[in-house]
Symmetry: C2
Subunit: 199 residues, 2 copies
């Protein structure tokens, strides 16, 4: 800790959420972890719902690098880089902790509109990034022009979400899935003349 109190509270919320789960988490747990008081949490964040909306933003900002990591290189390289970042643990960050916190927030979404709206933004941005890469690949001739970028992007976002849920809920390695999704991308997206030539 030792940064801004508001940030300390979010760090503590993130940590206690991943450890105890949303259902068993109290503001008192968060206050103890942040070395502050429940009154301070209310001062900075108002309600428990507002605190968790702020947490979703905090998680997004922290992991925004994941979504922007894939801005350099050819479309194939950018796709591979984004899939690696999303599905493997190569970055060395605590991805499982992040995915556990995200699953908790997804489970709260049906009951909290503000959380749902933030998660929908998250989802849209990832979709846009995949779609942009597929469009760029079609423009440069690397990807098959008969592929619909929006459909391909929808399938990729959905697969990534499913991989994270299966990792957190039933201990299926997202990393194993990386090879499968990359294989799909190769077989389904690459134009015929590119197959086996580039990745």
């Amino acid at each position: 800790m030792g940064t801004e109190p508001a940030t300390d509270i979010l760090e503590a919320t993130y940590h206690t959420l991943s450890e105890y789960g949303y259902a068993d988490l109290t503001l008192q747990d968060i206050a103890a972890e942040a070395d502050t008081s429940k009154a301070s949490i209310h001062y900075y964040y108002g309600s428990k719902e507002q605190l968790f909306v702020a947490l979703v933003d905090f998680l997004y900002e922290r992991h925004a690098d994941n979504f922007n990591a894939a801005d350099d290189g050819t479309p194939s390289e950018r796709l591979d880089s984004l899939l690696r970042t999303l599905l493997t643990d190569e970055a060395g960050t605590s991805d499982r902790k992040f995915r556990t916190a995200m699953l908790e927030m997804q489970a709260q979404a049906p009951y909290h509109e503000a959380i749902r709206d933030r998660l929908a933004d998250f989802d849209d941005r990832l979709f846009d990034q995949f779609r942009g890469i597929v469009e760029a690949g079609i423009e440069t001739g690397t990807f098959d022009s008969s592929v619909d970028p929006a459909s391909a992007a929808a399938l990729l976002v959905t697969t990534v979400r499913g991989a994270h849920v299966r990792e957190v809920a039933v201990n299926h390695s997202s990393e194993q899935l990386y090879a499968t999704v990359s294989g799909y991308a190769e077989a389904h997206l690459l134009a015929d003349r590119q197959r086996g030539v580039v990745r």
Copy 2:
């Protein structure tokens, strides 16, 4: 209600879970919904954790038809039937309620080993069903023999899980995704000579 008390309690658990969410749910809410007492819930199910383990079994049994619906027809028909059952609302059952309850249970899995084990069984059975269909398709020559059935099944299970999460958490229609996943299956699984000939 009006069936066995133990079943009434599970029905009430399912209903109140979908309505309030796990975090805000009390045994008192469930008892009120089931028109019984907290003592009766403890008598039939012991702890809250055991009640929710029983709920996962109950949800599985109720939706086992979904997993067995695809036993007739050609491999292509069986695959299509299973994807339709899992991703569309054609069955007319309250699929969203089921998916909301499942997301809640998935979010509890990191903290409750018994729930995690049951969900892993669930996951394995769906994986086996997809793998069996792909294997049958390869045997009959409908599906491309270069496809690895386990990888294809892993991708399909993952995509279905992701579709359900996106439906519940960010209101993305699973139904829209049905067309995309079917398109993937057609492009990726069918042997070349079968493309455009059968589904």
